[in-house]
């Protein structure tokens, strides 16, 4: 059985994610610090909260840096805020992100209702590991007020249309991110989580 860790930075519902991963066949530990041996095949950064408190909670609870924890190329799945932390910085706060993907997080356009909340469909741009078997146009569940603006578009494997094209799935090396919530996206989400686990 694949053993993965969810990093709980005290920002919301990790229960659904844990539940979905277990349904998809993984054993799941919830960790609150990186000061422990990384015995995991994969790491998940879950998705609810605010940029600065989340980053601070990670930096202040661990002497070990995120980069050191995943230095053996541990696959990481960042969900929503978890994905946003992959980038250099966010307009939501002043803290620095992990900077494993070039680019920044910016607020959604004011012409649209913010947050972007509800079901929207995926426009698949190119094949990706976690998108395997996910159909173009599949419904997934979004709840977010900010979006990724990668420096290079080639990290975007799927987008969603919300007035502008919102990067919905990003992949770079061992880092996978979804702006939407796979753990709340019914079958399509479970499929995606299963893909992540199978790649471990």
């Amino acid at each position: 059985m694949v053993n993965v860790a969810i990093f709980d930075y005290g920002a919301g519902n990790i229960f659904s994610l844990k539940n979905s991963l277990e349904q998809a066949g993984a054993s799941v530990d919830v960790i609150t610090s990186f000061d422990q041996p990384n015995v995991y095949s994969g790491l998940l950064l879950p998705g609810v909260g605010n940029f600065d408190p989340a980053i601070k909670s990670i930096n202040e609870n661990s002497k070990t840096q995120f980069h050191d924890f995943v230095k053996e190329n541990t696959p990481v799945l960042g969900i929503c805020l978890g994905m946003e932390m992959f980038f250099e910085k966010s307009e939501e706060g002043v803290e620095k992100g992990f900077n494993v993907i070039d680019g920044e997080i910016i607020v959604l356009p004011s012409t649209m209702k913010v947050p972007h909340m509800g079901w929207n469909n995926l426009e698949i741009k190119k094949p990706g590991i976690i998108l395997d078997g996910v159909d173009n146009g599949s419904w997934v569940y979004f709840v977010h007020s900010y979006r990724a603006k990668p420096k290079f578009d080639d990290v975007i494997t799927a987008e969603s249309d919300y007035g502008i094209k919102v990067p919905a799935v990003v992949e770079k090396n061992n880092f996978f991110g979804t702006q939407f919530h796979p753990e709340k996206s019914q079958t399509n989400g479970l499929l995606l989580l299963r893909n992540f686990l199978q790649d471990l």
Partner: protein, 268 residues
């Protein structure tokens, strides 16, 4: 583009799920009643979200309520907003740790907006659903709190305008007059929204048949509609309502039930 949403609201009081009419409660059944009368493994294909409210008229047992939220989360993969009596950041944390994705607040908005701000700083504004209960009094729409027992001085239009500047993710606009009557939504409530309303809106109170849900969804100011009636859509009623709405061309998310079943087999 973003789809409109159909939301199922469960009203909870001291271990049971309730039928409400004009905010007067009648006990219907416990969790097993729900699971028996609504096919819970399939319900996720009929609704977009669940709202679960602890409307206990006597003292609330938060631990027991959280247990129910967890059980609901276990049995269906849809976003869950939970609330009822939420006054502190600690209560929010507890609900989120028990499987809620969002919290519903009402009285807190007028009583202690600072706590609402703290919740948004900690968890983001998308996490907060602002419930607004409305009753018509002498031809005016007035705002009520504390399970519809306390009238606020502010009028509906002013309150909806004020809320636009709160750090909240959406507004759950509920008609006490229509609640549980099955007469259809009080669509006129939407006229009280400011022209430039930017916060997503859920319309609740009064849906009795699928076409009522359609009337709400048709209105450009409503982003979602909700029903809390435990009998109007019982059995496969929610599923039938969704099919009917989709057939009429309403822009709702469609899920691949076949894929779900095949995935379930693979995972089993």
């Amino acid at each position: 583009m973003l789809k409109k949403r159909v939301i199922f609201t469960l009203l909870y009081d001291s271990g049971s799920f309730m039928l409400s009419r004009n905010f007067r409660l009648q006990r219907v059944g416990k969790l097993d009643w729900l699971q028996k009368n609504y096919n819970f493994s399939q319900i996720a294909f009929s609704i977009d979200e669940l709202v679960v409210l602890d409307v206990s008229r006597n003292e609330r047992d938060e631990e027991k309520f959280c247990h129910h939220v967890r059980s609901l989360n276990d049995s269906c993969f849809v976003p869950i907003a939970a609330g009822g009596g939420v006054r502190t950041l600690d209560q929010v944390r507890t609900l989120l740790q028990n499987g809620a994705d969002k919290v519903v607040v009402n009285t807190l908005l007028s009583e202690d907006p600072e706590v609402v701000r703290e919740i948004s700083i900690q968890y983001g504004r998308q996490c907060i659903v602002a419930a607004v209960d409305v009753k018509e009094v002498n031809g005016e729409f007035s705002v009520w709190t504390e399970n519809g027992t306390v009238q606020q001085q502010i009028g509906l239009a002013q309150w909806l305008e004020d809320l636009q500047s709160f750090p909240i993710g959406e507004i759950y606009l509920n008609s006490i007059d229509r609640d549980g009557t099955g007469q259809g939504f009080h669509i006129e409530l939407l006229d009280c929204l400011p022209v430039q309303a930017e916060i997503p809106l859920i319309l609740a109170g009064g849906a009795g048949i699928p076409s009522h849900l359609g009337e709400g969804l048709k209105n450009s100011r409503a982003d979602a509609v909700a029903t809390a009636h435990l009998f109007n859509f019982v059995g496969n009623g929610l599923q039938k309502a969704r099919i009917e709405l989709l057939d009429e061309g309403f822009d709702l998310a469609r899920w691949d039930v076949q894929l779900a079943n095949s995935l379930e087999e693979v995972l089993a």
